[in-house]
């Protein structure tokens, strides 16, 4: 990709995150929520990967961080559910709603209004957990796909240029796609063409 594309992607990245977080945090008031917001954030990550703004150097780091986010989101979700058992009466009980605390504990205002952010109890917390999880999970998938593509192309450094010309032995285990498929099928790759 050209430098212009990666520059624009870099500029758009924080906006993707902010917009995604907005959708996540307003999940209990407006259409959207954890999954949709997380997917928007992950779109930003996809943009960064495709445009080459995240070079090959940090790829493993991204993978690990995305995995960490995935675990964190899932643990957060189940922890809020267990919170219902600890602080309320039942698993998944909304133990924060209508408690009067300003931490999402305010009563819901009926009728047309601008929407009160600090309502709905554990719903926003679960939205946040799902948002983090989806952001992490989709990023993990994207990282894995990116790694596989570059691997199959014999492009270990991820700069979209094959490391060696076609027809030569490829270092680092990179193989043409046909050979990878043939290896999966357990056949020897034929050079009939």
């Amino acid at each position: 990709m050209s430098r212009i594309v990666s520059y624009i992607a870099r500029a758009a990245w924080p906006f993707c995150l902010v917009y995604g977080l907005y959708i996540v945090l307003h999940g209990h008031l407006t259409p959207g929520g954890g999954f949709q917001g997380g997917a928007v954030m992950a779109t930003g990550a996809a943009l960064m990967m495709v445009s080459g703004a995240w070079g090959a150097a940090g790829r493993e780091g991204h993978f690990r961080r995305a995995e960490g986010l995935e675990s964190l989101g899932l643990i957060g979700f189940i922890a809020v559910a267990f919170g219902g058992l600890l602080f309320g009466a039942a698993f998944f009980q909304n133990w924060l709603a209508n408690t009067g605390t300003s931490f999402f504990g305010l009563a819901v205002v009926p009728g047309p209004n601008g929407g009160v952010m600090r309502t709905a109890g554990t719903l926003p917390l679960m939205n946040l957990a799902v948002g983090i999880e989806v952001f992490g999970g989709i990023s993990v998938i994207l990282c894995a796909l990116q790694r596989t593509f570059h691997h199959a192309d014999g492009d270990e450094d991820g700069d979209d240029i094959p490391d060696v010309a076609d027809g030569e032995a490829r270092p680092g285990g990179g193989k043409p796609v046909e050979q990878v498929i043939a290896a999966i099928r357990g056949e020897e790759a034929g050079d009939d063409d």
């Binding site: 559910a81 998944f92 009980q93």
Partner: protein, 535 residues
């Protein structure tokens, strides 16, 4: 029948799903702290969940089989419907555990514990444990969910969780693409089954605005069935038959069971059992009490499926040389036995006298065989897995004389082989005997097929045991030792259970199996929770 506990009086049901999920999500973090912590946490979570499941099963059975209910997100003793007015039905998720669910919980608890012990050994030297253990815990949690839930859509969700984690685990060791193919096949047929089940559920929801099993059953008992309900019945029964591996939808079982990692093969059996339990739940609890339920037609169809499964499974097994593939074909044949008992009971369901005479026993025999099968077939898979693990060979013709090198494995595998062949005093004999006697009362032909299949099973396992463990030692086995300690413990555990159930079948029958059969035959107890407010 004693009085049911108030809603949410028992706190265990959500933990059986919550703990495996929490454990699965904590594992990737635990490994960042210390590597052995992951194995310890995995075993700890499985053991605690198994303990809780057995406790819950005991609570239900000690209370005379009265259902224990858990309403998600509700306070103790809360109203069931939200809101209760205008005949609105519950939108809440309900876990509803009666004696039949309790039996499945016990089976899941025992087998998952053994499979987890084996997994710790069999995966010890392999890479990629990062995803293996979490997926395994997801599979365990999904199976518990299928046994616990009282809601059709919720059942579908747990069915999908087990399908996804099960197919990922089956394909986990790619094995030159063979396991990948097996996993893909399992994923495809499972998603087909899941979609069909969802369609059936959707038809019921669209007509009656109900998802809760007990509520639907109560509605059917009062209002009878529409033609569309029968379509939904077919859409619910077929995928569950597919998921439990009955002929003619058994084509995935040999591939998936034989290529999955050994502990996964052992536990996938239980996930198939959970589908069979779901089938019984749909047929007996939901539809069984309804006016116009075609019990004879469906019973006849299931009898045909049962006979075909028994016969085709065992005849295919006779041809096999790959030991795990052979056992997988026997799994199809054993599934036939379980369907045989339930189908016998279903066929005579319209006649109360015949049900009391032998139908109830046939259904209890079905449950008995499910329980025994999960234990001894799990034992066979981990025993065969032990041999493959140590020798690296799967082909029966390439093995021989291993009893000297692997005495514990040989003894435990022998117990499993005798049990599956129905030799007294092991558990397989007891459950098969119940099935012979009860199906004989319906038609001697059924009992005859079951006995012939049992004989062929014996012949097949004589061959397996002889070629694996007896005879002269083949070359290349000088270095072979017995399996690591936890693996051996798991095998001995399953073998001892198989022996104990075989020695005291009466106790198990009276305390566990007859209450489970009664729970299915008397859906009114299951639906009691909905009686007052049903429209």
């Amino acid at each position: 029948m004693s009085t049911p506990l108030p809603i949410n009086a028992c706190f265990i049901p959500p933990l059986l799903v919550g703990f495996p999920l929490l454990g699965a999500f904590l594992l990737p973090l635990a490994v960042k702290v210390a590597r052995p912590l992951r194995t310890a946490l995995f075993l700890f979570v499985t053991a605690v969940t198994s303990g809780l499941a057995l406790w819950l099963a005991w609570v239900v059975l000690a209370n005379g089989g009265a259902p224990v209910s858990y309403l998600f997100g509700a306070a103790k003793g809360a109203a069931l419907a939200v809101p209760a007015a205008d005949g609105e039905m519950p939108i809440r998720i309900l876990f509803h555990i009666d004696a039949a669910s309790a039996l499945m919980l016990g089976v899941t608890a025992l087998t998952s514990l053994a499979a987890a012990l084996v997994a710790v050994c069999s995966e010890a030297g392999a890479t990629g444990k990062r995803f293996f253990y979490p997926l395994f815990l997801l599979l365990v949690g999904g199976v518990y969910g299928m046994c616990l839930t009282g809601d059709l859509f919720n059942f579908f969700v747990f069915l999908e969780i087990t399908s996804l984690s099960g197919s990922a685990l089956a394909a986990y060791r790619i094995d030159r693409g063979l396991a990948a193919e097996a996993g893909l096949k399992y994923a495809c047929v499972s998603s087909l089954a899941g979609l069909s089940f969802l369609l059936g559920t959707g038809i019921l929801l669209a007509q009656h605005n109900l998802l809760n099993m007990a509520a639907i059953a109560a509605h059917f008992a009062g209002a009878g069935l529409t033609r569309l309900d029968l379509v939904a019945l077919a859409l619910l029964v077929a995928p569950l038959l597919l998921k439990c591996g009955a002929v003619p939808m058994h084509h995935w079982t040999p591939d998936t069971y034989s290529r999955a990692p050994h502990p996964v093969s052992a536990f996938l059996l239980v996930s198939s059992q959970a589908s069979l339990y779901g089938l019984f739940r749909v047929v007996f609890t939901i539809y069984g009490g309804a006016e116009g339920f075609p019990a004879r037609t469906l019973g006849l169809a299931l009898l045909a499926v049962a006979v075909l499964s028994m016969f085709i499974g065992v005849t295919m097994a006779l041809l096999q040389h790959d030991v795990k593939r052979l056992i997988a074909h026997h799994a199809v044949s054993q599934t036939g036995y379980m369907i045989l008992g339930a189908a016998t009971c279903l066929f005579v369901l319209p006649g109360a006298a015949q049900v009391a005479d032998f139908g109830r026993d046939a259904l209890a025999g079905s449950f008995f065989h499910m329980m025994n099968y999960a234990l001894y077939n799990g034992l066979l898979f981990v025993g065969a897995g032990a041999v493959i693990y140590r020798t690296g060979r799967r082909n029966l013709d390439a093995m021989g004389g291993l009893a000297r090198a692997m005495p514990w494995t040989a003894v435990c595998f022998g117990v499993g082989a005798l049990a599956i062949a129905g030799i007294p005093p092991l558990s397989g004999f007891a459950s098969k005997w119940v099935l012979y006697e009860s199906s004989f009362r319906l038609s001697p032909f059924l009992a005859l097929v079951a006995m012939v299949v049992s004989l062929l099973t014996l012949a097949s396992f004589v061959k397996v045991f002889q070629s694996m463990f007896l005879g002269p030692e083949k070359a290349g086995f000088a270095e072979v030792r017995d399996v690591p300690m936890p693996w051996g413990v798991a095998m001995v555990f399953l073998a001892v259970l198989t022996l104990l159930i075989g020695l005291f079948p009466g106790v198990v029958m009276d305390r566990v199996l007859l209450p489970a059969a009664d729970a299915l035959l008397h859906p009114s107890a299951y639906c009691a929770i909905f009686e007052p407010g049903v429209p």
